[in-house]
């Protein structure tokens, strides 16, 4: 089938190279002509429908942010403050404390009049662009299994994550950059490590590639200090000459040609990637917009600016972890202070990203997702913190064809479990794929004895969220 087609293409390409003298320069040219083949980029598996989103920027608040203190306003908590939770509540740690009201003030914002707490004053300005999902569930009490559930649709190691599926379905939008990029705070990485952005059984090009806001954005991008650029150019020329002899002796083998191209792409990547990181040409206004000019939000702001540039250049899926093992949203105690700091680090960058995307006309085709691996309980822990709540928590989406200015789903008056329009992670995944123009039932890959998919028939597209 397509193998034969590919092979025929290879033959034609071979012939072309032969006629053109087959020199190294011609190879570079031909790789440009033949782009798309270069990364071994997969042909999209399901034909894109009218999905509006071209890329996704996922802001992953690692540790479990407390929706009850940010977006899901529950006045009943005031009434129940310091009282025992009525009925039973499942927590990770035994002996939950009494109910705790939110230490923060809520206000309604925008035309939609949706509530946001005082912690997110800048994001609050964008509520009319946002769809809040107030009754999300992942049913996993522990951080890492929950992270796997949120990313991969299953709470254990070993399945491809949403980013990999998106990349698998859409192919690469820019062969000089990976199609799926991950950023995290390099001082302290998220628990669960590389499995969080793993392609598992999907082809390797769909693996999330960690990207840093440093002089070496991608691992191994920079050459050794003792090796000069001209020396590497010389190496590349010699290498491709050799590879060319070898391909001549072993004709009709597409893999060999793909590999020849991958070296050229790598060289181009060395030019492209540093440009993403370089903020020296950005105006003071942009830096201010993303909060890069303030110490607290500098790291996250820079990452979001990079994310916007990547989305612009065709990277399909960009996932940014805020918080790692330390400095995360896991406020079992001292929630007020911790959440205040975490929000200061993220408020301006996120608001800046939404505004920047909007003013560039990119918000329609860029889906922004905010959320953690679960939320937090209405009951207190250690007097002033909250435990994990995987049953009813808040995430939100903006842009990319999502209905703006709505709140979807609701938990009970104390904010523990959904009472209306629960959104499981499977529903979320189906919906995100739909927004990208991918059919979650058709996007499959054969593994372990059957056609696997991200959703595996366990969720459905939430039509009410689609604009």
């Amino acid at each position: 089938m397509s193998d034969l087609n590919q092979s025929m293409k290879a033959i034609q390409r071979r012939e072309f190279l032969k006629r053109s003298g087959g020199g190294f320069g011609m190879l570079a040219l031909s790789s440009l002509l033949n782009s798309g083949q270069a990364l071994g980029a997969p042909t999209p598996i399901s034909v894109p429908k009218v999905g509006k989103a071209k890329s996704v920027i996922w802001l992953f608040m690692n540790g479990g942010p407390s929706g009850l203190d940010l977006f899901s306003h529950k006045p009943a908590l005031e009434k129940w403050h310091d009282k025992r939770f009525p009925g039973s509540i499942e927590t990770l740690f035994p002996h939950p404390g009494p109910i705790m009201k939110s230490p923060f003030k809520f206000q309604r914002h925008g035309e939609s009049g949706l509530p946001v707490s005082e912690l997110y004053p800048n994001i609050a300005k964008h509520v009319d662009d946002i769809a809040f999902l107030n009754a999300c569930s992942c049913h996993s009490h522990n951080h890492v299994p929950a992270c796997y559930m949120v990313n991969c649709g299953i709470s254990k190691i070993g399945a491809p994550c949403l980013g990999s599926w998106a990349s698998y379905g859409l192919g690469s939008g820019n062969e000089d950059l990976p199609s799926f990029v991950v950023m995290y705070d390099h001082r302290t990485a998220p628990e669960g490590g590389a499995n969080l952005w793993d392609a598992a059984y999907l082809p390797g090009e769909n693996q999330g590639v960690p990207f840093r806001a440093s002089d070496q954005p991608i691992l191994y991008l920079n050459r050794d200090k003792n090796i000069s650029s001209s020396s590497q150019q010389k190496q590349l020329a010699m290498l491709q000459k050799m590879n060319h002899w070898h391909a001549n002796q072993n004709p009709n083998q597409q893999e060999l040609l793909t590999r020849i191209n991958s070296f050229e792409t790598a060289f181009k990547m060395q030019m492209t990637a540093p440009k993403i990181v370089d903020t020296s040409n950005e105006t003071a206004a942009t830096k201010n917009l993303y909060g890069i000019d303030v110490e607290e939000s500098k790291t996250f702001g820079t990452q979001l600016l990079m994310a916007r540039k990547m989305a612009e250049q065709g990277v399909r899926f960009i996932q940014i972890y805020h918080g790692g093992y330390k400095n995360n949203w896991d406020s079992h105690g001292g929630l007020e202070k911790a959440h205040r700091n975490l929000c200061m680090e993220t408020d301006k960058p996120i608001a800046g990203l939404l505004q920047d995307l909007k003013q560039r006309g990119l918000l329609d085709e860029t889906l922004v997702i905010w959320g953690g691996e679960f939320g937090r309980t209405p009951t207190s822990q250690d007097k002033n913190g909250r435990d994990h709540n995987p049953y009813g928590f808040t995430m939100w989406m903006a842009g990319g064809g999502v209905k703006p200015g709505i709140a979807y789903g609701e938990t009970d008056e104390l904010g523990y479990k959904p009472v209306e329009n629960e959104v499981t992670m499977h529903d979320l995944h189906a919906t995100v794929l739909h927004l990208l123009g991918l059919d979650h039932e058709a996007l499959t890959h054969r593994f372990g004895g059957r056609e696997q998919s991200l959703v595996n028939g366990l969720g459905h597209v939430i039509k009410d969220l689609i604009a």
Binding site: P145, K156, G193, A194, N222, S228, M238, G448
Partner: protein
């Protein structure tokens, strides 16, 4: 190597005479330690010349009798070794299964060449194939006493060995009991091409698809291909020389190929390479995964078991049973206990573990067992009856019940509190043995040098390895006993080694010192599975723990669809397979059922493993879904060949090496990899095997090959995993700082860490980036086949990773030390990296590369040019592809 050596020598009992007789054994086995692997070649050689003169009128005699008779003759004339061969053929109860296998193999190879010789002298003589048939029949008769455990127990339980035969025809192909298919006949014109029945099966399909075989690959290609396929190591100079020295003996073309194959199969690297395949399937890793991702300090004992088992050709049924219940079946055998590590590979959350996560772990155990060994995916049945396969939710939870009360634990591997482990692996002893041999060499050299009244010529003859056909040597030895005979009393702790041994001597001394210090912590404990309680589990509706209380409780059980004659599983039925009726253990019963070829899952187990071997060699299995032989799995491209191989495995005492040998000595395997337009048109995926599939090397092989080329590979076997440094950027540090999470200082990347890739620690959340980038596994799931993605990030790693640039530098230094002339340097470089001679145009181009001065003359520019060129070779397609 050292293992083989010890194997050959363990026959001698008394400690006093051990070393003495060991030396005698060495004399017999010829060539000494370095050529151990090739000893067999020499043995066969004289064995063969010894009786070929008796072969004139053989066509008249039944070849089976002939062979027996000839072996008798040869044994009378030559040595006790051959009589041992004979005794294996006739009186099987005196030899263990392992010995039988070993001898069978030797007879196999020797007779193979023997028949090749006969064919030369008499064209009407039998083909090797008919000998294989003869031999199988012979073996089968030897095995009549070997009733399967299940068969016996079934009889005990029911009083009737025969149960109702299932309606075979209605079954899915993989559920049918395996039987020996008829080997297709071959048209006369292809008779010459076929080397063994594998080819006859392949050829039939190939011809009917309108294709014909590719010509055989050149010897150079084959040598490299075999080296990689069998040991995962590049063709070293030694091996390529060995090949070329022997290639001019036309008459012995088969012999040379077979001997080369045997040498590789006996190489320690074989186990290290093939263990990787099985560890992938087992989902092995050295850490728990999840939040804390703690390192499993003692998981390596399972990895070591797999290497050991592959090298020693532990029968695959035993291999399988031990992995399920070695602790129960052979509690005093450290290797059997270590084997249960197979059941401990599942990731496991240690931070406030929840009950659902325990269910996940059990699920992983059951799924890995069934997909790795049975080729069935049962995981789906956790929530619902399997959509496609005949696995019910009830059966799934019966399997879970078998493991529900077991635990992963750091256990003593044997009842002697760990001491017994040393019987199998003692790093001090193997080094001490090598030192002793070194000392014998010294003593030999000294006593020969001291001889008076002997000419230098005669002394040189004495220095040569023992050659039983060298009468002059024999005479000289008989005159001068002392120059070759030594015993323990000659040994001393300190001695001056021969000059050529000096370096190794120093190293061994240092290593012995090191291991003596390390020993107490080293081998006694391993990560194993323990627990033999019989328990019941609840069938969870939709796999949901909330339904636990309402779920029906079920006890242990296996899969009815793989149990001929059974429609569904009844409570307590498992006990038919329990080895001890008074105290039945469910895991032992599962183990026995798994490999029971008549009443249990043995048929599919044999099919699944031969298919895995096939897949490794051809890049594509006869069944492409290697872990799924169920209804949703692929149908086999060559169903009869698959069954024939499975039967060969079962009939040859489950010897994997026998299957390896059948595959790699076939003409199918020896084809060239050239792809023609005709291939592209008729069979682009090469389903019909009319060519060899060229393949990229795996990430571990890439690492090992670079280390070998640079002269840096540390071939130490076994033991705790190593953590080679990785760039700081690649460390996902969570709890601790990056420095404490994983080494980042490349200065420490020295010999101790330059072990083969299989010994590199695999941490689930943080696989070593160079290995992961080239599609290495991270132990997240049972990996049936490595991916081969081609990515620009791989190219970046080859250009800029410190590992590659450093090894390029070492390789350059190695070349500079050996050669000063650019032409010579280039030739050496090509031979070290690509295992072949450089072409004239390569020499011209490479030399030009070396001589090109940089614009601004740098310090050491010539050396730097060579380093750069070394790296180019490391990056090249030819380096990365086996063809």
């Amino acid at each position: 190597m050292s293992q083989n050596r010890t194997k050959n020598m363990t026959a001698h009992k008394s400690k006093k005479t051990r070393k003495h007789s060991k030396y005698r054994a060495l004399r017999l086995i010829v060539l000494g330690c370095a050529a151990q692997a090739f000893g067999l070649f020499v043995f066969i050689n004289w064995f063969e010349t010894g009786f070929s003169q008796h072969c004139e009128d053989v066509a008249e005699i039944k070849h089976g009798e002939l062979i027996q008779r000839e072996i008798v003759k040869a044994s009378e004339e030559k040595s006790e070794r051959v009589s041992k061969l004979l005794s294996t053929l006739s009186r099987d109860d005196r030899v263990t299964g392992r010995e039988r296998q070993k001898w069978t193999r030797q007879i196999d190879s020797s007779t193979h060449s023997y028949i090749a010789n006969l064919k030369q002298s008499n064209p009407r003589m039998v083909s090797p194939h008919s000998f294989v048939k003869y031999q199988s029949a012979n073996l089968a008769s030897n095995f009549t006493g070997f009733e399967s455990q299940g068969q016996r127990l079934y009889r005990n339980a029911t009083g009737n060995p025969e149960t109702t035969a299932p309606e075979e025809d209605s079954l899915h192909w993989s559920l049918k009991r395996v039987s020996r298919p008829v080997v297709p006949k071959v048209a006369t014109e292809f008779k010459e091409w076929c080397k063994n029945p594998v080819d006859q099966f392949v050829l039939e399909k190939m011809l009917s698809a309108g294709l014909s075989p590719n010509p055989p690959a050149s010897q150079a290609r084959l040598a490299r291909r075999l080296s990689y396929d069998l040991t995962g190591l590049p063709l070293t100079e030694v091996r390529s020389n060995y090949w070329s020295e022997n290639q001019n003996q036309d008459l012995q073309a088969t012999l040379t190929y077979d001997t080369y194959v045997n040498a590789l199969l006996d190489n320690d690297g074989f186990g290290e390479h093939w263990a990787r395949m099985w560890l992938d399937v087992a989902g092995y890793a050295d850490s728990n995964g999840y939040e804390e991702d703690e390192i499993r300090e003692k998981s390596y004992t399972y990895r070591d078991f797999v290497i050991w088992a592959m090298n020693n050709d532990l029968p695959f049924d035993e291999f399988t049973r031990w992995q399920v219940a070695g602790d129960e079946l052979a509690p005093n055998n450290a290797m059997a206990v270590a084997a249960t590590g197979f059941m401990t590979t599942a990731p496991y959350n240690t931070f406030r573990p929840q009950e659902s996560e325990r269910m996940d772990e059990l699920d992983k155990q059951v799924s890995t067992y069934s997909s790795a060994i049975l080729g069935m995916s049962v995981g789906c049945a956790r929530c619902h009856d399997h959509f496609y396969d005949e696995v019910s939710t009830e059966e799934y939870y019966r399997m879970v019940a078998i493991f529900a009360e077991t635990e992963r634990t750091d256990a003593f591997l044997d009842s002697e509190g760990g001491k017994g482990y040393r019987k199998y692996y003692d790093p001090v002893k193997i080094r001490q043995d090598e030192l002793d041999e070194m000392q014998y060499r010294r003593l030999q050299e000294d006593s020969i040098a001291d001889l008076e009244n002997f000419t230098e010529e005669e002394k040189d003859i004495l220095r040569k390895p023992i050659d039983p056909d060298d009468l002059e040597q024999d005479r000289l030895i008989s005159i001068c006993k002392r120059c070759l005979d030594f015993n323990d009393s000659y040994l001393d702790d300190d001695f001056v080694p021969l000059p050529e041994d000096e370096e190794r001597y120093e190293k061994l001394k240092a290593e012995i010192h090191y291991y003596k210090r390390l020993l107490p912590a080293c081998p006694p404990q391993g990560l194993a599975l323990r627990g033999s309680k019989i328990s019941k589990t609840a069938i969870l509706e939709n796999g949901d723990l909330k339904n636990k209380d309402s779920g029906e409780m079920v006890g242990p059980g296996f899969l009815a669809c793989l149990t001929p004659g059974l429609d569904n599983w009844e409570e307590g039925q498992w006990q038919h397979w329990a080895p001890n009726e008074s105290e039945p253990l469910p895991r032992s019963a599962l183990a026995n059922w798994t490999t029971d070829t008549s009443q249990g899952a043995g048929s599919i187990v044999a099919r699944v493993i031969v298919n895995r071997l096939w897949q490794q060699y051809f890049g594509r299995g006869l069944v492409t879904t290697a872990g799924d032989f169920g209804l949703e799995g692929d149908t086999p491209s060559h169903a009869e060949l698959l069954d024939w191989l499975a039967m060969e495995l079962i009939d040859h005492n489950w010897s994997l090496k026998h299957i390896h040998r059948l595959i790699i000595t076939s003409a199918t395997y020896r084809q060239d990899s050239r792809v023609t337009l005709n291939h592209m048109e008729l069979d682009p995926e090469n389903i019909y095997l009319s060519r060899f599939n060229s393949r990229r090397i795996t990430s571990e092989v890439m690492r090992d090959s670079m280390l070998v080329a640079a002269g840096n590979l540390n071939s130490t076997m076994y033991g705790p995993a190593v953590m080679p440094p990785i760039p700081r950027d690649a460390v996902f540090n969570t709890e601790k700082g990056p420095e404490e999470t994983w080494p980042i200082d490349y200065e420490i990347d020295r010999e101790a860490l330059w072990r083969r890739g299989i010994y590199v620690l695999l941490r689930r959340t943080m696989p070593v980036p160079v290995l992961k980038l080239f599609d290495g596994t991270d132990g997240s799931f049972s990996c049936q086949k490595r991916k081969t993605s081609t990515l620009p990030t791989q190219a970046l790693a080859l250009f800029n990773s410190p590992f590659v640039t450093r090894q390029s530098r070492f390789l350059a230094n190695r070349i500079l030390e050996a050669e000063s002339q650019p032409e010579k340097q280039v030739q050496l470089l090509v031979s070290l990296t690509l295992g072949r001679q450089a072409t004239s145009s390569e020499i011209v181009n490479f030399v030009e590369f070396l001589s090109e001065k940089p614009a601004q003359t740098e310090y050491r520019w010539k050396e730097k040019n060579l380093e750069a060129l070394c790296q180019v070779l490391f990056m090249s397609n030819e380096f990365f592809y086996i063809n």
